[in-house]
């Protein structure tokens, strides 16, 4: 069983739409974690994909999921995103069991697990604007949001390109920008540093840290120690062989 970090226990300030606040027996306000997993595990046909794992992440916190290839980092993120059901244990995200069919859950969790689906006949800018507009942003707000993201990721010069006209590194920056163009409370990222040079990894780190400082919660699988140091508050070590590990 993995137990990572301890709850901050006391409410600070309600920022997100799905922040959960309770009052304890002494009348103090206590904060329930935004993401809370207990003995969460996945087994399939006698094969353990993820050993029972417990962790929790509060609002405005970033958790790094670390481990060697095949340890189950992506599977763990898929569990949190509701794309996969756990074989053991429980998990709640914003007080809900992960269920990608629930509109409330979809509104709370954004994820980049592999390449996002894109339309071959829309430009980079149009993708960002369309996704932003879908989350009830007006046309002007959606357009401003897409311009902001293009600038933030340094891909403004790619705004008029179609997805098939991007290099692999550019595609990764576009995928990250696309994921951030929608609203969310919890952000799940699987190796966001993929195919990026050191400078771009640092840039992505800055953007993600800024999100954390603005109250967003991030759970991120990564192999890049610099990025983890730059973005994350705590680390969860996932190993192929089940063993307790607390960092």
């Amino acid at each position: 069983m993995y137990i990572v970090g301890f709850s901050q226990a006391y409410a600070q300030r309600v920022r997100g739409g799905c922040y959960i606040e309770n009052v304890d027996l002494l009348g103090k306000r206590v904060m329930n974690p935004l993401v809370s997993a207990s003995e969460l595990g996945v087994s399939f046909d006698g094969q353990t994909l993820v050993s029972p794992t417990s962790f929790h992440v509060d609002e405005g916190e970033a958790l790094a999921v670390l481990g060697p290839n095949g340890a189950g980092k992506t599977t763990l993120l898929r569990l949190v995103s509701g794309r996969l059901r756990p074989s053991t244990g429980t998990i709640t995200v914003c007080g809900m069991a992960p269920n990608e069919k629930s509109p409330k859950f979809r509104a709370a969790v954004a994820a980049l697990l592999g390449s996002p689906p894109t339309a071959s006949n829309l430009t980079v800018r149009e993708h960002l604007t369309l996704v932003a507009a879908s989350w009830n942003a007006g046309a002007d707000v959606a357009a401003a949001r897409s311009e902001f993201l293009l600038e933030q990721f340094g891909i403004t010069r790619l705004a008029l390109r179609y997805p098939h006209e991007l290099s692999t590194g550019q595609s990764q920056l576009f995928a990250l920008a696309l994921t951030l163009s929608r609203s969310f409370d919890v952000l799940l990222l699987d190796e966001p540093e993929q195919r990026l040079d050191a400078q771009r990894v640092h840039l992505v780190g800055q953007i993600l840290r800024s999100l954390v400082l603005h109250g967003k919660t991030i759970i991120m699988a990564s192999h890049n120690a610099d990025l983890v140091d730059q973005v994350c508050d705590r680390q969860l070590e996932v190993r192929e062989v089940a063993s307790d590990n607390l960092t």
């Binding site: 995103s81 794309r83 990608e100 069919k101 509109p103 979809r106 509104a107 969790v109 954004a110 994820a111 980049l112 697990l113 592999g114 996002p116 689906p117 894109t118 339309a119 071959s120 006949n121 829309l122 430009t123 149009e126 604007t129 369309l130 996704v131 507009a133 879908s134 989350w135 009830n136 007006g138 046309a139 002007d140 959606a142 357009a143 008029l160 390109r161 179609y162 098939h164 696309l178 994921t179 163009s181 929608r182 799940l188």
Partner: protein, 512 residues
């Protein structure tokens, strides 16, 4: 030159000595099998086809005054299609490794690629020769043409095939720019057909002249076609040398990846390899500026789907023309004619389904989104719904155009209802098809040995083409019911099929 020739010879010798190379006995067997197939299958099929086309009403059609114009039009369409096909699958198609081996050496491509080209064009030459033989035989046996005129038409077909083969190669050389030539040919063919006399000065028009059987005109047309065919052969090395490595490699890689996908039964991926990608229109506004309209998902996605489709204009035009033609055929199938309504209705509905393919990109995106973390605040079913507007409206518009054309050819007013029903079914079938996953393992992994071969291949075909078959069968039955005066029964059937398609789509989405 001698050195390069020697290098090519050495290369071929080495390749011939590979482990899985065909032996001389294999070649003899292939020749034996081909001759046997021609004798046992080819001859009876050709004979049956000639007999099928021999009824007096068909013969009357072939002998009608407008037949020569139609023949010219058909051959014009054939050459245009070959140019378009060449941009996707040219006659010089090599696996990527052979592109490196043959096209990246110092040996001129006119030397290294001629054999591949010659092998590919056998199909064009054979196909047009077969066409010429069948229609000439029908006319000669029906007494509508002398034997000499019949032979002249076959010869004209063969000469035209040589020219058409070169145009196929030109399409490959032009690659994504081939649409300019395709549009030019469409305009030239339409203008020559509409202007009448000028048709006799075009290569496709020469086929019409030979069809007419006028001795002087035929002789002149055959001389002109011969000169054009000779010119094409002389130009062949120049065109082969202008084939770029990129064009060869792109097509080679595309087909290699597609064949791998097709072998595993993943036809969606295989076909997706050939879908045209946009290069123009990146500044066109796919997202509106007005906040009020943008907030309405139906409007927002209609606009982005429509502008997205316009960015591949030739593909869109191809789809819309196919749809309009299909609905025109569907409308005329309800008018009295030689062919049964169910047959034309099924063919037209099938063509409608194929035409809808270019409008279904939104459905495909929704299907891919079903397996990924959500970017949009909608469920997968809701995404399908917001992507429905553009294909549905475009197909309904094409149905109206097709109906108007059909009315000009005697279609009854009830044809409009039939066209609209098939339009809805075609779009829903495309949505249903987009959510198709990999084939069931039972079809892929369990060959059933019978004396007639493995029947699971038929089941696999039915599984792959289920949406097409559903629409075609519905079209046939609805057209048949409409001709019998039971339009209401046709509408009821369409409602049942539409409901079934929606339920099956939801089932597929749940399983994905």
């Amino acid at each position: 030159m001698t050195t390069s020739r020697n290098a090519l010879r050495t290369l071929r010798a080495i390749y011939r000595h590979r482990d899985d190379a065909s032996r001389e006995t294999d070649a003899s067997y292939i020749i034996y099998a081909t001759l046997l197939a021609l004798l046992v299958v080819g001859f009876p099929v050709t004979r049956a086809l000639i007999m099928l086309l021999s009824p007096p009403e068909v013969l009357t059609l072939l002998q009608s005054p407008s037949a020569a114009t139609v023949v010219s039009l058909v051959f014009g369409v054939i050459v245009t299609l070959l140019v378009a096909v060449g941009s996707v699958r040219g006659p010089v198609l090599l696996p990527p490794f052979f592109v490196t081996l043959l096209a990246e050496t110092a040996t001129p491509r006119s030397r290294t690629l001629t054999r591949t080209f010659a092998t590919a064009v056998v199909y064009v030459l054979g196909g047009l020769l077969f066409l010429g033989i069948v229609v000439s035989a029908v006319r000669v046996f029906g007494g509508g043409l002398t034997l000499v005129s019949g032979i002249e038409f076959v010869l004209a077909c063969l000469l035209f095939a040589v020219v058409a083969s070169l145009m196929w190669l030109v399409g490959q050389v032009l690659a994504h720019r081939a649409w300019v030539l395709v549009v030019s040919l469409v305009v030239a063919i339409a203008a020559s057909v509409l202007m009448g006399p000028t048709l006799a000065f075009t290569p496709w028009g020469w086929l019409g002249v030979v069809w007419g059987g006028d001795p002087t005109g035929s002789a002149l047309a055959i001389v002109a076609l011969t000169l054009l065919a000779i010119g094409s052969v002389l130009l062949l090395p120049v065109i082969l040398n202008s084939l770029s490595r990129e064009a060869l490699l792109h097509q080679g890689q595309q087909f290699q990846a597609a064949s791998v996908a097709a072998v595993t039964g993943d036809m969606a991926t295989a076909l997706g390899r050939f879908r045209t990608l946009p290069r123009i229109g990146r500044r066109w506004r796919a997202i509106g500026r007005s906040s009020g309209w943008v907030r309405l998902a139906w409007i927002r996605f209609f606009r982005s789907d429509a502008v997205g489709a316009l960015r591949t204009p030739v593909r869109l035009m191809g789809g819309v023309v196919t749809l309009s033609s299909a609905f025109a055929l569907l409308s005329t199938s309800l008018a009295p004619g030689p062919a049964p309504a169910w047959l034309l209705g099924a063919a037209a509905a099938g063509a409608c389904y194929l035409g809808c393919g270019v409008l279904a990109d939104g459905f495909r995106l929704s299907a891919v989104s079903a397996g990924a973390p959500p970017l949009y605040p909608y469920s997968t079913t809701h995404q399908y719904a917001v992507h429905l507007t553009f294909p549905l409206m475009t197909t309904v518009l094409a149905a109206l155009v097709g109906f108007v054309i059909g009315v000009a050819f005697g279609a009854p007013s009830g044809a409009l209802i039939v066209c609209l029903l098939i339009a809805v079914l075609g779009v829903l079938a495309r949505a249903f098809d987009s959510a198709k996953g990999p084939p069931p393992l039972i079809l892929m992994a369990s060959p059933v040995r019978t004396e007639a071969g493995d029947p699971t291949i038929l089941l696999l075909f039915v599984w792959q083409a289920d949406a097409l078959l559903i629409v075609a069968a519905s079209g046939g039955v609805i057209a048949s019911l409409a001709v019998g005066g039971s339009l209401l029964s046709g509408a009821a059937l369409a409602a049942v099929v539409a409901t079934g398609l929606i339920l099956l789509l939801q089932r597929r989405l749940r399983a994905s």
